[in-house]
Structure formats: structure tokens, C-alpha cells
Symmetry: D2
Subunit: 399 residues, 4 copies
């Protein structure tokens, strides 16, 4: 078999037809090991059900990487969907991250818990069409408006769960982008949405003579930082916040309200503005990525998912710290959520599988992630403010 793989008469992916998954994985791994001279021992040690994984999640599989999971918490959450105390599973190799989030959780819990709400919920796809002229482009938009109900019916005929919740058209010269938004319940929903969008796109092409160029025209926008996601929302739009008293700030963070505010002001707001950044936060991406990997989310969605604005308001009693995640694409069914280790992480959060009613588990997950990001922001801003204050004292003591 190695010989056939070597001479190209057998392709790596064809092994799945000749062997059961576990053997195909092994043969493939051994072949790669031989070809590259790499010793591949640990990659081959895994416990997940590869029967399903090789069909749904990963072609040409050779094994798994083991990503360490630490827990932070408990974090108390007062959400629209998430209620109570949660332990957060974080998959990461970045030392200090779990400890940092943990400290933030502790502060939030001591403060009585974090507020969190889902502002908006909808997964999108935006096919792009080519038209012959700007007047043709405008006619396509008008046609879409007129045929809204028909397009909605067509879209929903492709899915048992998804509901089309909005259609918005955009024109750029002769290109028309039709941004379709769906309620995807507990699924992150890109697959469902893509299939439904294909149906819609075909109808539009047929009805208008526009040429469908791509099912995704980048106004979705998927896995790219994009203003449109911030403004119109994508996936679950989450806002979370917590009030910290002067005493708590002093006790947990060894700093004061003014210092917390100043760090956020000069770093997260002015610094990001000066850098031409799309994120106005300290390290939201760390928390989003670690939870995404642990919970079987699409890791590349950390790109849009981490576009966060962090704010620290000065209040009479201390500060109110908040984070806003306008475009967090998450689901509790589908994708990598059924891989056993990832499913176990979702179970730690109590949100694996479909919710009752459908959609509530994914919304709960969205709220949990929002609060976890808040914990991470609090912790890092607090640490910076404490160092800053310490330095200020030193300078004053030495001056």
C-alpha cells in the first residue's frame, strides 16, 4: 500500500474506501511519517470516534493534536439565557491565560455576577451577482424586494430548522450582493445557510438574468474582520457587563477606578483608534479562541467572533466594565460539537446539543462566552492598572 501511495496510484483520500477509518488513519500516518521522517507517536493516540469524524469533520485524517484544557471559574452569570455559576473550559497553550480568566471570574462572581444579553441573532450568507449595468443592478434589488416571500419559502424549503429572517441588498457598480440572514436555532449554521442561499441565489439569477458569481460575496462576511458584521450583527450579538465597587477594585485588583478607566481609555480606545484597528479591547481573541477550540466551534470564526469593544465607565460606586461582541458565530449542534472531547466541554457548560426551545442552548453559549471575554478583559486591564499604580507610587516615593 505504501508503494501505491508513493507512486501515486493510490491517493491518500482513497484509503477511506479500502480500509475502515481507524486503519486508514494509521496507514496514512505511517506513510506521512515515512515520507517526512517524522516520528508520529502521539498524534496517533486518541479516543474520539473516528467513524463520524472522518465523514463529517476531517478528510485525510492521520490522528489528533491534544490541546490542553484548563478550567476557570466559577463565574456567576445573570443572563437572558445563561443563569447561575459556570466553569469555563479553555483549550490553550498560552501560559497564564487560564489563570488570568480565572481571576476575572472571581471578581465577577464576587461582584454578584455579570449581566449579559443577546442583542441580535442571525447567521448570514451574501451571494454576489454580476449584472450588465448599474440599472440592471438596481432592477435586481427591486426584484428581490418584490419576491421576498417567494425567496423566503424557497430558502426554508431546504432546511427543517432554519428561518430566513432578513434580506438586504447592496450594490457596488454592477455587482449585487444579497445578504440573507437566518435564524439557525442551535446550529452555528453556515452549512444550513449556504444550502438555503444556493436555492435563493438560483431563483434570483433565473428571475433577473444576473449571473451568480459566488455564493459568498464577502459581504456575509465570514471569517474576515468586517465592519458590516459589527453594524448589522452576525451570529449571536452579545453584550455583557459588570459593576465593580471601589472596595472590590481595591481588594481584587489592587488598583482604583480611575486607573482602570485610564488603561482602557489610552490602550483600548485611543490606542486602537491610532492603530487603525477593528478591535477595541485588550485580548478578547485569547478567550474566544480558547473557548472555541474547547467547545468544538470553528476556530477560524474567532476572527469575526473576537471583534470586541471594551468599555470602562466611571460610576459613583466604582466602575461599570462592559464588552460588546457584535458577531459571535456559535452553535451547540453540528460542526465539531459532537467530537467527544469537545462535547464534554459543552457538557461542562451544560449546553451540549439542542436546547428547549431550539436556539436557547446556542444563545446560552453565546452569553457564556460574552461573560468569559468580560472576565479576561477585566483581569488584564486590572493587572495593567495595578502595575501602573504601583509604578506611580514608586515614582512618587522616589521623586
Amino acid at each position: 500500500m505504501h508503494n501505491r501511495l508513493k507512486d501515486g496510484s493510490l491517493k491518500l483520500y482513497e484509503l477511506d474506501k479500502e480500509l475502515v477509518p481507524i486503519d486508514a488513519i494509521r496507514v496514512r500516518r505511517e506513510f506521512i511519517g515515512k515520507e517526512t521522517g517524522a516520528k508520529l507517536e502521539n498524534i496517533g493516540i486518541f479516543s474520539i470516534d473516528v467513524e463520524r469524524v472522518t465523514k463529517r469533520n476531517c478528510e485525510n485524517m492521520i490522528g489528533t493534536v491534544q490541546v490542553p484544557v484548563g478550567v476557570a471559574g466559577p463565574i456567576r452569570i445573570n443572563g437572558g439565557h445563561a443563569q447561575g455559576d459556570y466553569w469555563l473550559p479553555l483549550a490553550t497553550t498560552e501560559g497564564a491565560l487560564v489563570a488570568s480568566v480565572n481571576r476575572g471570574c472571581s471578581a465577577i462572581t464576587k461582584a454578584g455576577g455579570a449581566d449579559v444579553r443577546i442583542l441580535h441573532d442571525g447567521m448570514t450568507r451574501a451571494p454576489v451577482f454580476a449584472t450588465e449595468s448599474v440599472t440592471h443592478a438596481v432592477r435586481v434589488c427591486e426584484w428581490v424586494t418584490v419576491h421576498h416571500e417567494e425567496l423566503k419559502a424557497a430558502a426554508e424549503s431546504t432546511t427543517s430548522h432554519g428561518k430566513l429572517s432578513g434580506i438586504v441588498t447592496f450594490v457596488a457598480g454592477t455587482s449585487v450582493y444579497v445578504r440573507l440572514e437566518f435564524d439557525t436555532k442551535d446550529a452555528m449554521g453556515m452549512n444550513m445557510v449556504t444550502i438555503a442561499s444556493a436555492k435563493v441565489a438560483d431563483l434570483i439569477a433565473q428571475g433577473t438574468g444576473a449571473r451568480l458569481i459566488a455564493l459568498s460575496g464577502n459581504m456575509c462576511a465570514d471569517k474576515k474582520p468586517a465592519a458590516i458584521n459589527g453594524i448589522m450583527g452576525r451570529g449571536r450579538s452579545v453584550v455583557a457587563g459588570v459593576a465593580l465597587s471601589h472596595e472590590l477594585i481595591e481588594k481584587v485588583f489592587k488598583t482604583d477606578a480611575a486607573s482602570l478607566h485610564e488603561v482602557n481609555y489610552r490602550k483600548n480606545l485611543v490606542g486602537s483608534a491610532r492603530a487603525g484597528a477593528m478591535g477595541f479591547n485588550a485580548h478578547a481573541a485569547n478567550v474566544v479562541a480558547a473557548l472555541f477550540i474547547a467547545c468544538g466551534q470553528d476556530a477560524a470564526h474567532a476572527i469575526d467572533g473576537s471583534t470586541c469593544i471594551t468599555t470602562v465607565d466611571l460610576t459613583k460606586t466604582g466602575v461599570y466594565v462592559a464588552i460588546t461582541l457584535p458577531s459571535l458565530p456559535v452553535g451547540t449542534v453540528g460542526g465539531g460539537t459532537s467530537v467527544e472531547t469537545q462535547q464534554e466541554c459543552l457538557n461542562i457548560l451544560g449546553v451540549a446539543g439542542s436546547g428547549t426551545p431550539p436556539g436557547t442552548n446556542a444563545k446560552e453559549l453565546g452569553e457564556i462566552i460574552g461573560c468569559a471575554v468580560l472576565a479576561g478583559e477585566l483581569s488584564l486591564i486590572g493587572a495593567l492598572a495595578a502595575q501602573h499604580l504601583a509604578r506611580a507610587h514608586q515614582q512618587l516615593g522616589r521623586g
Copy 2:
């Protein structure tokens, strides 16, 4: 022990002091399982050396998630550092991704390989200082310029490998951002750079009376999409490209040059512009994230790492397709690279550990990732163009 954990008299992280790592992990996992009612069987099955991981990579560890790894390739690369045929390990749960990259690899290899070069190499940190007035701010910048050599010496005194390669100052009102750039050799280098920056920042504060607010002032910019990274570069700046002949386009992608060009034009360029996006590509993030997780890179770095511009030029002989990744933070030592499964993935690429001379392994990894992104872009654009062409034929009644 459960009781002490339960009543809070023993903290989860304190288990590391009382037990050997493997036991601490187990006790912690059992406690979380009990608290949450989650059955945590698979998370506890792992083979990596937790002695090191618990110290360096992950606090409060309870086990690992197993992320499926598939291979794509071989891909032929004609780089400044990467030379030859490579198999790409991709850690993902997104079905079809490995297959898609694989097809791109095949096209590239058939075309004779991808060109790739490192344009720039430097990891950055930008501490932010508060000053009393804009004139004070300007004086701080001048002081930094005058004391460049002194600051460089101080920075380099903290590290055996890193070299300070640049200092640029930015002013926004009374805030001063000092962007320090380092050659970090084979390390991704954030830790090294942060330690060195702390030393530099203290000197600046002492020398100028400016108050150090945060070691990272968000003009670094780390793990946030930011124009400054695109313009000034961060980590390894990579450009990769490949020429495809008309025959190859027809044979591998079942489409033509004009269609490939049009998909890129309307989707990746005009669509992204219209969406206010910072990425002008099809799905670079998928490839970056999958390689990052496989190879022990910091997954949150996929945010800056995937800011990609994809171009498709029409040429006399077909097309020239290229990708540009201005800010890819990667390393082959430190971080998660020494976790056994991740190390094995680096070994598949032949880039684990320090290169000879230092820095060459990380540069090689950067080039490989650049070519992998190119493969992914090619494949998706090709698929879209083929569908588009097929539809066009159908509409014309030729299908």
C-alpha cells in the same frame, strides 16, 4: 479534597502544590465533572507530557481536547527558506477544508510549485505612556530618538536571542506609543518582546517623566485586526504566488482564467471593500487557524495572521494568483510548539525547534503557511469559478 475544593478552602490551582500534575489534573477533572454533572471521559485521555504543559502552557488543567488532524499535499514550494515538497497537517473540525486545501496543493504542485518570500520579519510591542501635554508628548518622542542606542542595549540585555530592530513613536494627544520591533529568531517571541519592552518602558518613564500606562498600548497590535500590522508588518510578512496555465486551469479547476479573475474581483476585492472588511480573501483564516492549532502556534494569532489580500492577475499564459500575509506571527520554539502532538506536526514540516542559523525554521514555517493559504484560496476560488461557469453554460442552454 473534593470537600475542600467545594467549600473553597482549597483552590483548584492549589492542587498543583499538593499533587503531582497527573493527579492534580485528575482530581480537578473529577471535581468539575461532579460539580457540573458532565461525564468527562475522553478529556482525560491524553499522552502529552503534562509536567511541562502545566507549568508553561495551561493552568488548572483538566485534560485535553483532541482536534482531528488531516494532511494535505504534497505541495511544492520554491521559497527563500522553504524548498521542496511538503505535507501540511491541518487541525480542524470543518468538513471539506482538508480536501479543499489538498486540491489547491495539487494544482500548485502540477504548476511547478509556489513562489514564496518573507518580506519583513519583526515582532512588536508598543507600550503606551501618559504625558502632561502635547509638548511633553513630543519631548518624549525626541528623548526616545536620542536614546535609541541606550534603549536597544537595555532591551537586548534581557534576552539571549532577540535583537531590537526598530523603534517608532506615535502620538495621540497626550498618549505616546513606542512601537518596539525585535528580531526574535525562531520564536514567535511575544514573551521575549514583552520582557524586553518592560525594561525599555521603565527607562523611558524614568527619563521623561511620562507615566507608563500599559506595556501593550494596542499599537503593537496583538490579536486584533489592525491596519498598522498590514502597513508596518508584524511577525513574518509573507507573499506567495503561482502561475497557472490555461491548460491547468481547465484541467484541474474546470474553469477558465477570466472566471477565476472575476470571482476574485467581485468577491474578494469589491465585496470586501463594500463590507468595510480588513481581509480581501476567500477563506485564509481557515487555513491559518488549522495550521496554527496543529503546529502549536497561539490560535488567537490567527486573527492578525489571516489578514490576507488575494489577487488573481490575468496573464498571457493564464493567471498568476497570489496571497499577501503582512502580519503572520509564528515560531518553531516556545509556546505550544513543544507539546508532543504539536511538535510532531512541526516535524512533518521539518521545522521543529531552532533553525540553523537561528530564525530560519520560523521563516520556513511562515513560507509554508503562506503557500498553504495560497492553496486554500486557489481551491475555493476555483470551485466558485467552476460553478459559475457551469451555471453560465446552463443558462445559455449549453449544459
Copy 3:
């Protein structure tokens, strides 16, 4: 009087109470001349009716600057509102601009005219409110949704013309932004909209307990380049395009379709993407600013008005060139439109004053400006492509 002005007992603006406008202007100008040593002869030569101008357009007036006006045209327009041949008045001191636009007009007219349409029409204001928590913020949004009709009635009670056409809420932490959109008919409408928004904002504050921080919360967004304007539209959203045949390209521009396309591709699309730019065009701002100043528009609105995407499609018969202006704030009544010289420029275009029905004049002006921008883009891209082609020929030894 000079003495009283000099010693501060009389303020410059108080002259309007003591003197008729023309004398107040003169005394003020003489005072400034004396104070600064500047000879102010020409500034004092003007013919406009200062009675009205000093009340509505300019406080502390000392005279006028004379901005040269050139005409380009005629340009043939096939619009939804603009129909026929137009002469464009351009107020500019930038040599070559009028000539350049003129050449573009000529090409468009020879091609049979430009297509142009208004995609969307609505002027916005977005007051910002402070709330106590993210849950309070969400309740404010819900309150606004529930009280939509009441808010609409209140808004429209303040204006005889304006109609509230949309309300969208945004949350960032504890800040709530309520973006109010109005049909302002022939007025650019900022004043009308601001007055109506004040009424709405007071109701929201009273009804929800949120504190109104500013009538404009920068999500309007007025006179700042902002993605929200591109995505949701602001003022008149205009798209214009024209098909050029191979013959015409050769004859008028001395170049070919491929060169026009390549200039736009590498400069306006890839170059702007690489620069982190919000405009994807050659010099739309030149044309917008020159028409704005000539026609009494608010010159600072050229900032949002010039955010343009220019596209050049390769077609079977040549190229289709288009521009998209998503946020062009223009009006034919109010503001500077009634200053005599500016009114005359509007008369050259046939759009001064209110249209029948109301709104049609402003829409016609929007379409004209769209086509003028198209002419400017065509001309500059054409010139660059011709030079490029000429150079290519030279390099090939054919020059």
C-alpha cells in the same frame, strides 16, 4: 469703534446689533486688517446679499473669497431623475481638474450617456445615551422599538417636510445609539433632522431613564469617513455607470480595455486595500468638493460624500465603468444654496430650489454629481492607462 473692539468692550459679533450688515462687515474687516497688517481689498468685493448670509450662513463676516468656477460638459445623463445634457460648474483652484472632468464628460456623452440611479435616500442623526448597565441598554432598545410610532409622530411634529423613515438602535456596552433616518425631500436636511432628533431623544430619555449625552453620537456619521454610512447609506446613495466600446476607448483615451481594467485593479482596488483606505477610487473627492463648493453644499460633507468605489468590468464589447457613492449628502434648498453665486450654479444644472414633487431636485443633483464623479474617474484612469500603454510600447521598442 475700533477702540472699543480693541479694548474688548465691543465684541466683533456685536457689530451686527449696532450696524447694518454691510457696514458691520466693513468695520470688522478694517479692524482685522489693522490688527493683522493684512491689506484686505478683494475680500471686501462681493455682490451677494449679506443681509441673509450674515443671518443664516456666516457669523462675524468680513467678506468673501472668490473661488474660480469652470464648466465641464456637456455630459449626457440617463438617470432616474436627471435626464439629458448637463454643464457642470466646478469651483476649484486645482489646475487641470476641470479639463480632466471635461474629457470624461466627452467620453460619456459619446458613449450615449451615463446610467445613474439613487439606491437609497435618507439623512440620519444618532443621539447617544448613557445607561446604567447592559441590561438597561437593552431595555432602552426595546422601549424604542415598542414606541416607534410615538417617536415618529414626535419627530414629524417638528418639521413640515421631513418624514422619519427608520430607527435602528446600537449598543456598545452601556452606550445606546439611536440612528434616526429621515426623508428630507430637497434639503440636505441636517438641521431639520437635528431638531427632530432632539424631540425624539428627549422622549427616549424620559421614557427610559437613559441620560442623553449628545444629539450626535458619531453613529450618524456626519463628516467623518465611516463604514456605517457605506453599509446603511446616508444622504443620497448613488450608483452611476457607462459602457465604453473598444473603439471609443481607443479613440478618446488612446488605450485599451485591459489597461483601463488593470489600472483600476492595481490602484483603486488592491492599492486602496493595502493602504487601509476607505475609498476605492482615483480622485472622487476632487469632483465632489468642486461641485459642492460651486453649488452651495456643505463643503465638509465632501468627506462622507466622496467615499467612492470605482469598478472597471471587462465586457465583450469593451468595459463598463461604474462608481458607487453610498453617502452623498446634498440638497437644493437651505444651507448655502441660496447664496446668489451658488444659486446660479444650481440654476446651470436646473435644480435650484424645491422640486416637483419635493425631493426630486435634490435627487437629480445627487445623480448629476454621481455622473460627474464617473467622468472624473474615467478621465484619470484613462490618462493613467494611456501613459502606461505608451510606456509599455516604448519599452518594447515600438515607441
Copy 4:
């Protein structure tokens, strides 16, 4: 003549060859009046020297528009180049603008004056080249680095004043952008820079085989909002600030420090971030545009010139308010600066013509504009804060 113009045998621009300027202008105006039915009386009333204007500033001239000029001030400035009290000429038709800036000037002067400095000074052009492959692109960059001195000499051979101060190369796929920066002394300098860049670009094309696509590749970036200008600077980069005491805030603005800070925080920082804006200010564009039109600057440069970050720091004694304009393109010679009315405005500021040494007048103008923007920001933020405070009092039943 009308007949020949009508039948197209005589072009409007050919009138300049047959008639002296003043007559050509009249004949053209009369023709346009007849063609459009517009009465063009006031446009024909002007005093500027059209001999020069028709050659340098405006083709196909038919007259001028008169833009009202009001003065604000005096404003006390403590700059690196601007020192003393200034009266600001503002050309605008936007009622209340002059009054608003005036109030800001008053506050600044009462506070002892505004600090202001030029952070960086350099005008740029960035030609774009097409290469055959990414490796060719990299070689072009290397060639440019190696031939720096030769390119500098060539550039400077085209100009008596300009000095090449920097060359930076950027690659996007096969496109290479060479950003050339010049010290243009008192000129805004686009023309000088374009001529010099043409020479440089030809050398690069000849030396490398790259094809020059356009002299401006949009990484300059001219008259487009672009992150590159903010980060690298373009034109004069200006920072200005002023400290206001609690007493002054109370007396002049009828508000307090916390309210000023909160308006800036929720509107200019968080609001702009949420809107995906490139400007973090209240209305910088108003002030920049009004001063630009008055002083003969290129009005389209208000687009890049107004990209402003406004900050309000809480201090022990009150607030420190600052503005940062990273890319203000201004000059005191060339362009529209010699048109008589505009020259008079420059004379009001004392900066007309060349400075001693060259460059100092333009820098002084840059500093003045920076302080004028500061005055405008102060005034609007102050007004919003006062209203906000008044409302808060009312709500509390104290009003």
C-alpha cells in the same frame, strides 16, 4: 461665436486662444447662460486676477462663487512655529460654525493658549508597478533599496526646493508600491512630488523590468481616508492641546470636567469605534474645510486633513483636551494660495508666501489649523456637555 460654440466647431476651452481671459470668461458664461437658461449675474462679478487663475487654477472659467468669510479669534497659540494671537478666517455657509469656533478660541485664549507641534512633515506619492511574480516583486523592492541614493538624486534633479526624505516599498501579490516622501518646504507639494516621482518611477521600471501602472497607486494616499496616512503621516502631522481648569470649564462652558470627558468618551471614541469610523472627533472637518477654502488650499484635501482623534483627559486641575491630525496637507505657496482673496486670508494669518527659512510658513499654517480644530472640538463638546448637564439637572428636578 455662440454659433460656433453651439455647433461644436469651437470648443469652450479654445476661447482662451482667441480672446483675452476676461473676455473668454464672459463669452463662456454667456454661452452657458443661454444654453441652460440660467441668469448668471453674480458669478461674473469678481476682482481676482484671471490672467493667472485661468492658466494655473481653473480651465473653462466662467466666473467665481463668493464664499462668505467670517473671523474667529483671537486664539492664542504656543507653537513650535506659530506664536501669538491669531484671527482665523473661515469660509463657510454653515450657520453657527464661525460662532462655535469663536467660543473655542475664547476658551483657549483665556486658558493661556494652545500648545501645538508638528510631529512629522512629508508629502508622498506612491507609484504602483506590475511585476511578473512575487519573487520579481521582492527583487524590485531590493533594487529600490540598493539604488536609494541614485533615486534620491534623480528625484531632486526635478525640483529646486523639494528633498526626498524617505522611500518605503510595499508588496501586494505582484503589485509593488513605492511610497516616496518629500520635504516640500512651503508648498503643499503634490505637483512637485508627482514630477519627481515620475522620474523615479521611470528609473525603477527601467532598472527592474517592472511595468509602471500608475504614478499614484493609492498608497500615497491622496484625498482618500486611509490608515496609512494616519500611521506614517502625510503632509504636516499636527498635535495640539490645551489645559482647562475647573473654573474655566464652569465659566466658559457651564459644565464640568466629568461631562466633557463623558461626551468625548461615548461620542468621539466609543461611537466612532462602533460606527467603523476613521475619524474620532466631533466636527474637525468643518474647521479644516472652512480654513482650506479661505486660505486657497485644495478643498479635496479636507478628506485626509480632517482625520482627527480628539481626546479629553481628566486631570487634577480640570481637563486636558487635545486633537491629533496625522495627515494635514497644506502649503502657503502654489495651488490656490495666490488667488487674491485667498492670499488675503493667508495674510490675516501672517503666513502668505515662502517662510524664512523655507517651510516655516507652511508649518505655521499647519499649527494654526491644528489649534483651530482644537477650538472647534472644545466648543462643540462643551456645548453638548452643557446641554447634557442641564438635562441631568432638569431630570433631577433641579432645573
